[in-house]
């Protein structure tokens, strides 16, 4: 039962079920009315047939009646009654006395005027003399097993030939001479009705079945399969398998949902990795702090006692040497504990504005001797236009010292080289965002729909350099400088840029391009504030503050690359963990974990790429504020 319920809870089955019900109801109602109409038609056809038969009997007995030839009349009626379909033919006079009938024993008996057939005309005291055919007919069943029977009464009216006939049975004053009552069985009609009922039911069943199969097929294909794929994916994801992805589900809404699902999973997976790392780091940090505090007290005991002994045994040089080792090593332990606490320190770094190169230079000067001793060349490739970064210079310096020392440790032989590169990266808006609106101060539209770059409308600006004037069509992508010029400009020219409609100047007074010191132009791109660019044709400097602020941040990217032994790929994911060390006894394993913590505290990221035998590259991104 539960299984059935589960099965029924599937969308596909629900859809098929509801469509089947709708079809069944529609076909049922249609069939019902159709059958009703059909049987009405058949019955009225039968009535017509009986009526015709009645008039035929009346007409064929007319001659024998006029001749008062009862024998012939009897014969005719008997002959007609022999027909299988005709049950009985009766002829009775106005007073209800049966005069002719196929069953001769009944001749001369009275018809019961209250009986079913008479009722149509004799419902009132005064009998109707003329009734329509449907009033004259009746359908009844003698017993439940037999087929139904239809009776039809046909009145026989007086005519001139009747009262003028030689027998003088009917006087002229008599209006109605008698009634012919014919009863026929409806077996044929019933068979026909049954047949069409069966046909309709079969048709209804077949069409419901076919419809269900067709709908089922498409529902399975378009809904059931993709939905169960998605279901499977959600189950996998909820079970923790964030690497699972839904296979391509086509281009309809479910396909889009599937792709969105995959994107979401990917992001979740990334976020979980970050969170996992961050969580691991912070819990390890707490653990480290706890351990450090616990160790601190016994360490104090060891250090005080050993240094105390060192004082007391001044005359015993043999013991002195050994004690000095104890004191020295305990002091080293003290430094390790200090390192642990540095790693665990939750306090906010003390930040101020500094130049990245200054910190790197300082770090490099600290380790310079070590590098010279190992014959390692240190190459610095600094981007001269880097903005200041807001960091705790002390901590960041520690990061660089650690990374350079690590790099030099990884280098064996005499051809060692460490390269430090700094550059600026704009992660999102720059190079992607499109300038969609541009107006001058007089609200003139600067967007040019005729000249396009990569099928995007450009920004049309008027440019003047000396006597030379024309237009510049600015690349609409922020950060890409594929501008179109319809005038010749040299890079050194003093260029005036203005609105093509009202000539209002776009040049920003008292401000120069930070890259090449040329003058800069600016216009508004509502609602995203001012857009700025350099007038120098060889300079690609642009700034769009609102977009920069709103979207992704600008980062200073610092890469430290060595050509040392590299890191095994299985170690790469673990190198930022505390106590993970590949240096064996030499290191404490705290260095990279501390580095990770410091960079994380600065809202930056640190990543590593490495190839065994080729070298290692650390990339640090620090946000520019």
């Amino acid at each position: 039962m539960k299984r059935f319920k589960q099965k029924f809870n599937k969308i596909a089955l629900k859809l098929i079920f509801s469509v089947s019900i709708t079809t069944a109801v529609t076909i049922g109602v249609y069939s019902y009315f159709n059958l009703e109409a059909q049987s009405d038609l058949l019955v009225s056809e039968f009535e017509r047939h009986a009526n015709q038969l009645s008039s035929t009997i009346i007409k064929s007995t007319r001659t024998s009646m006029l001749d008062y030839d009862t024998e012939t009349t009897h014969n005719i009626i008997n002959t007609v009654s022999e027909d299988q379909c005709i049950k009985d033919v009766r002829l009775f006079n106005k007073s209800g006395v049966i005069i002719y009938t196929s069953d001769s024993s009944l001749i001369g008996t009275m018809v019961d005027k209250d009986a079913e057939g008479c009722y149509s005309c004799h419902s009132t005291e005064q009998a109707l003399s003329e009734a329509p055919i449907e009033k004259r007919s009746r359908i009844y069943q003698l017993n439940p097993d037999s087929s139904r029977i239809m009776g039809l009464m046909t009145p026989i009216y007086n005519e001139k030939s009747c009262w003028e006939s030689d027998c003088h049975v009917h006087p002229e004053s008599q209006k109605l001479l008698g009634v012919l009552d014919i009863t026929m069985c409806l077996k044929e009609v019933e068979i026909a009705q049954q047949e069409s009922t069966v046909k309709l039911i079969v048709f209804a069943l077949v069409s419901i079945l076919v419809l269900s199969i067709i709908i089922g097929f498409f529902v399975k294909r378009w809904i059931d399969t993709p939905v169960s794929n998605l279901m499977l994916a959600t189950r996998e994801i909820s079970a923790g398998n964030l690497n699972y992805s839904v296979k391509d589900l086509g281009n309809d809404e479910l396909g889009i949902l599937g792709r969105a699902f995959n994107t979401m999973t990917k992001k979740m997976s990334d976020a979980r990795m970050q969170l996992f790392q961050s969580d691991k780091m912070s819990s390890l940090g707490r653990l480290a702090a706890g351990v450090a505090h616990e160790i601190n007290n016994p360490l104090t005991g060891v250090l005080t006692y050993s240094s105390f002994l060192l004082k007391r045994t001044k005359n015993n040089s043999e013991i002195q040497e050994d004690l000095k080792v104890i004191v020295r090593e305990t002091k080293r332990s003290r430094e390790i504990v200090k390192g642990l606490l540095d790693f665990a320190r939750q306090s906010v770094p003390k930040k101020h504005n500094v130049k990245a190169r200054e910190i790197i230079d300082r770090a490099a000067s600290v380790v310079n001797n070590q590098l010279i001793l190992k014959h390692i060349g240190l190459e610095k490739k600094f981007d001269p236009d880097l903005p200041m970064i807001t960091v705790d210079a002390d901590q960041i310096q520690q990061v660089f010292i650690n990374l350079i020392v690590n790099a030099s440790d990884a280098i064996e032989g005499d051809n060692g080289k460490i390269v430090i590169t700094t550059s600026l990266t704009n992660l999102l808006p720059y190079g992607i965002t499109q300038i969609k609106t541009a107006v001058c101060k007089n609200r003139h539209n600067l967007i040019d729909n005729e000249i396009k770059i990569e099928s995007m409308p450009t920004v049309k600006l008027k440019a003047e350099a000396g006597n030379n004037s024309g237009y510049i069509n600015l690349d609409p992508i922020y950060g890409k400088s594929r501008h179109k010029y319809n005038l010749k400009l040299n890079s050194g020219d003093d260029i005036k840029i203005s609105c093509p409609r009202c000539d209002i100047s776009f040049i920003k007074e008292r401000e120069q391009c930070p890259k090449c010191n040329s003058s800069i132009f600016t216009f508004e791109s509502p609602p995203n504030g001012m857009f700025e660019g350099c007038t120098n044709t060889n300079c690609d400097w642009q700034r769009w503050q609102a977009i920069d602020e709103g979207g992704q941040k600008t980062y200073v990217k610092i890469q430290i690359e060595d050509n040392g032994s590299g890191i095994q790929s299985e170690d790469l994911s673990r190198i930022f963990e505390p106590f993970f060390s590949t240096k064996g006894q030499k290191g404490t394993g705290l260095g990279l974990a501390v580095i990770w913590g410091i960079i994380d505290n600065h809202n930056g990221t640190i990543t590593v790429e490495s190839e065994v035998g080729q070298g290692t590259k650390f990339t640090i991104l620090l946000p520019v504020t």
Binding site: A292, N296, G301, L303, Y305, V337
Partner: protein
């Protein structure tokens, strides 16, 4: 009357300090929690009290507050773990005369103890001179009123363009024996408030660490001092300066500094 009371919840530390003190011929008493310590302080006179900050029930700060509010005649030296340098600086602001980071060596603790005892003597002499029992020799030169100081150890003076000069107070120098050498950090090194910024070696071969009054980057150091360390003793507030630094977070560090104008009696 005792010289020292040591309060630490770790018995091993108490024992070690007792041994060290007794080796130096000092009279010392100990207890393992601050409440017992307070009782002892009320009963007896201790020149200095060494007290751990992190203790169950009553911590070092609370003890310091009690000592101050009850006007107990003792000078408190805080013992602290590494992570609580900030707390230690705070304790100086609250009236402790010094602090020793754990774990410490014989020299580190004994130098602090001797400075503390000498500080007591100086205070005694000041009290006597006020009462007119002593001749009016200058006991120590107070630092100029516009300077700021960290505890009684070091001073700093804000200069033009945001730089600051830092140095050692005369009071600190008076608590140690004659200098035999001065160690200074290099230019460009970073100082952190409350951490060692220089070590003074005295003739009795005891190193005395100077705490940086504020954090920042060293831009200049007093090279003359390395040639002639007597400058420090002669003119600690002007010619005997240690470093010129660019402060890292002056507003934050200033919270724990006291104006030297409060030094005047």
């Amino acid at each position: 009357m005792y010289d020292i009371l040591i309060i630490d919840d770790e018995a091993v530390i108490n024992e070690a300090v007792i041994k060290i003190a007794e080796t130096e011929g000092l009279k010392i008493d100990s207890c393992t929690n601050a409440r017992d310590g307070l009782k002892k302080l009320e009963k007896d006179h201790y020149k200095i009290t060494l007290c751990d900050i992190m203790m169950p029930e009553m911590n070092g700060f609370q003890l310091l507050n009690e000592v101050k509010s009850e006007s107990i005649n003792t000078h408190v030296i805080m013992i602290t773990g590494f992570s609580t340098v900030e707390n230690a600086v705070k304790s100086l602001h609250m009236g402790a005369i010094d602090f020793i980071p754990k774990p410490f060596t014989y020299d580190e603790i004994i130098s602090s103890i001797y400075r503390g005892l000498e500080f007591c003597n100086l205070q005694e002499r000041i009290r006597n001179s006020i009462n007119g029992n002593d001749d009016d020799t200058i006991i120590y030169v107070p630092c100029p009123p516009k300077y700021l100081k960290l505890g009684n150890t070091s001073w700093m003076n804000l200069e033009y363009e945001g730089a600051a000069v830092i140095g050692v107070t005369d009071l600190f120098l008076r608590t140690i024996k004659s200098l035999s050498s001065v160690e200074l950090f290099d230019v460009d090194e970073i100082l952190i408030q409350g951490n060692t910024c220089s070590t003074l070696l005295t003739e009795d071969e005891i190193p005395h660490n100077i705490m940086a009054p504020i954090g920042g980057k060293i831009v200049e150091r007093n090279e003359k001092l390395l040639e002639n360390f007597s400058l420090l003793e002669k003119d600690p507030y002007f010619e005997g300066w240690l470093y010129r630094i660019i402060p890292a977070d002056i507003e934050y560090d200033m919270k724990y500094l006291t104006p030297c104008s409060t030094d005047r009696v």
